[in-house]
Symmetry: C2
Subunit: 232 residues, 2 copies
Amino acid sequence: MSYQLYYWTGLQGRGEFVRLCLEDAGAEYADVARIEGDDAIMPFLNGDREGAMPFAPPFLKSGRLVIAQVANILQYLGPRHGLVPEGESKRLHAHQLELTITDFVAEVHDTHHPVSNELYYEDQRDEAKKRAKDFREHRIPKFLGYFEKSIERGGGRFPLREHSYVDLSLFQIMAGLEYAFPKALAKQKVPLLRDLAKRVADRPNIAAYLASERRVPFNTNGIFRHYPELDD
Amino acid sequence: MSYQLYYWTGLQGRGEFVRLCLEDAGAEYADVARIEGDDAIMPFLNGDREGAMPFAPPFLKSGRLVIAQVANILQYLGPRHGLVPEGESKRLHAHQLELTITDFVAEVHDTHHPVSNELYYEDQRDEAKKRAKDFREHRIPKFLGYFEKSIERGGGRFPLREHSYVDLSLFQIMAGLEYAFPKALAKQKVPLLRDLAKRVADRPNIAAYLASERRVPFNTNGIFRHYPELDD
């Protein structure tokens, strides 16, 4: 099965959670905007295409389906590629965890844009410093502690007792924090989460992907941004 | 089928999206914390109960299942109560819309808490004014415009061409905005969305619910808060 992924070029952003899933699955996909340019995204956002109209990228085309929202896409891909356990209870649990990751990612974004997406970071730096302080002191420990405990409850290796798309997303938030908030991350006591992230990075398809040019380096256009003053 | 809903007492909050679904469905449910107190929630958050551990309320118990995250709960309830159309394409679409509502609700929250949940509103009022200005000028029009267009694409009455749980959530955000940001809402040109919200309020089960004591009035402990200085 072949997919078309639509996401802004030049950054990992929210699209990366979908890429990691497609890459781990060894799925055939085209990263459309990287081939045709960001303009390829617009007709979908403007409602000029068939199927569900996305509010924002990423969205995935799978045949005639247009699927937006990261967690929705992963929930769709998971069962098709053996990336979520069988059974309603497990799938609800996987999705619940993924939605909590979604919440966390939105909070990561708001550390550098606490006032407005219409303004540059530099124009909201004072507010960003306050928000980032709260994020480091309260939110990182709360979210990572929750994921750590979820892995513990899953037997110590996976929150769902076996590999799933959730692991890939947990890897991505750990990689993102390592880039954006290295000092804050170093203080967290989350050995199971670190171990999981390392095991994900070592999965053959993921290792190959991370070493490829398809993995755009983290940068200050993405969701995870390294501004030293926000990590101090 | 009987459910147990867990959500903080004294406010509508995110729990209200689940309540509206249960009420519209005519489902039997216990609003547990309103009976036993907020303490009833804690063992679940602390991981002292079987089933998926929630990061935060609301969560729903359905037999042995514990389901957290509003959109996840609605996706579970929808098919069981005829509150989402049949077919994968429609269900993905419904969930995508609901997740976009979730994003919007998080942004509503951040208008009064742009810095930290640990601080009172009064201690982040200056930042809240800036964030709320952006929210009124950019985010309300963008989100409501998207929902308006989704209804238009669905034939003018429902985003999914027939009644679904998404309608109930759209009603709730319109009701919340009417309370919290009446001036900003009055400026929006969203006739289809207003009409949908009105039709939802007139559904017999919803009308009965809204007239009951179970519908806690909006207040400044909830997600939607009316602070006049944020709507000016």
